[in-house]
Amino acid sequence: MSTELLKAVAASNEWWALGPEIILACAALGLLVLELVTPKAQHRFIPHAAGMALAVVLAGVALNFGKIWDGEELFGGLIRLSMPGQVARVFFLLSSLLVCFLATVCLPRARVPRVEFYHLLLVVTAALMLLAQSNHFVMFFVALETVTIGFYILVSYYRERASSLEAGLKYLVLGALSSAILLFGIVLLYGAVGRVEAGGVVHTGFEFGTVLTFLRENPGNFLATAGALLVIGGVAFKIGAFPFQIWVPDVYQGAPTPVTAFLAVSSKAAGFAVLLLLVHGAFAPLAGVLVPVLSLLAAATIIFGNLSALTQRNTKRLMGLSGVAHAGYLLIGVVASFTVPWAAGAVWFYLFTYLLASMAVFGVMAYVAGPDDSGEELDHYARLARERPFLGAVLAVGVGSLAGIPPLAGFMGKLLLFVAAFHAQLYGLLAVAVVGVVISIFYYFGWIKAAWFEIWTPPAAGTDSPARPLPAGPKWVGVAALALLTFATVLLGFFQAPLSGWLLPR
């Protein structure tokens, strides 16, 4: 490569365009420095510092939102700024801010170091944002692995508890397996594309654009098709689609509650951001292969997720398996987006409603779990509505939105996805999805019933253990956060314009 070419590449390094990610990474390092230089008694303010950093970056991205560089490639083609990338940035920052709030509720209960949690949270958030804007397989893989390795540590963060470590090990083994499969797919694509010279510049199969032209010019290339399918398989692990979902219930149950929320929302959204990026970018010419594969995945995921969630009594496993079902509905949106362009916006809309509802539910779970984090079963929710009416109301709205009850945001999200699927004439998938929604109402209502309606159980003879006292209610920050999430969920059910006008291009 000549030095003139390198100079041209260096000229495309627009560092300020990656400002949010760089600020977050520096803030993460800053947290470690703060921990080193301040006395231990003052470490309580570090979570607030992390939250502040996230909030400032979120405000910065929101203020500069209109200033997008549509389709501009930076850093020699590593990064491509785009509208979906900006949406993803906002999504991940908002989600991490809420995870930060959950962590301030949960972490003080366990005897673990706290600062590293927020450090990892910021690093993973920055990597998630880079992942959604990558335009090059090296960038893609490195960002994805930064996210994944960060999650290995976060899942096993309660190192005093064997269950957390076991969940971490399971996530590690299956996550590394999927990463290796994804890497092999990237290598096959690189090998299939080979050396492409255009205008004196050598391109390789690492660049999304080059892969796109190669696939368009060589339809039916076996090596490239196999590579693309392996990459899609690796991404399917992230979103917990059907054959790759075996890790979901165990890892969700063992991980600390804030990490479970982070996995459920951000990790899943990252999978869909990448999937949309790939199927509309590099792998677009493979639609003939991808549509049937993704349709099958979607149907199997919906059926499996809903049926296995039916029998769960543990709330974290319930959230995990119902999350698998949600991934199935979202996959329908991805399939629909091959023929109906606005379906990609519908997927993002659904993800935002899922973020609001899930975070509200996880917030309630964090409070109900109690001082030793053991209250995870449905039985622990008995008498919740009577003794803590606020938490009961938040739970009802959140779970109702996840189930898709009409006036709530979750209903509008599902409606948009299903209308998109209808326009794309995916009638079979639509039928499966409707059956799935009906099944999901059973287990979601079981949860609401446990919290709101008294069930008289005969006291077992001999074991008249005193009823488990309900934990203390949230402080004002918690009340404000949960009330905001609930309010947004209800509001989005009535007025979608602020979000949909922004996500759905006209």
Partner: protein, 124 residues
Amino acid sequence: MSYAAYLPFLVQIVLAAGITGGVILASQLLGQRALGSKIKDAAYECGILSDGSTHTRFSVKFYVTAMLFILFDIEVVFLIPWTFVYRDFLAQNIAILSPMLFFLFVLVLGLFYEVKKGALEWEK
């Protein structure tokens, strides 16, 4: 296919087998022999009977140090290509020094963090 290409490997295998075999044979022929006493055949410790298992446990601190070594060891791989292109890049006025300094700063910060957290203290 030319088998001559494998000659260096053959030479190495023959040398390795010859030297080790020779040493073992020499110790058998020339070395002193204990008179079939189990205690005297045992590896010499300090005159008293050896006690406990041969496979002593490593301190877990050893693993911590080994893991940290892997992490810092691999970073050098990025420094070597950097040195090769350093002059060319400078001649072309491409910023090359400051990114690498930032990279090293992050590494050094990590090292400080380890020291402060006591990950490098063996005896604790």
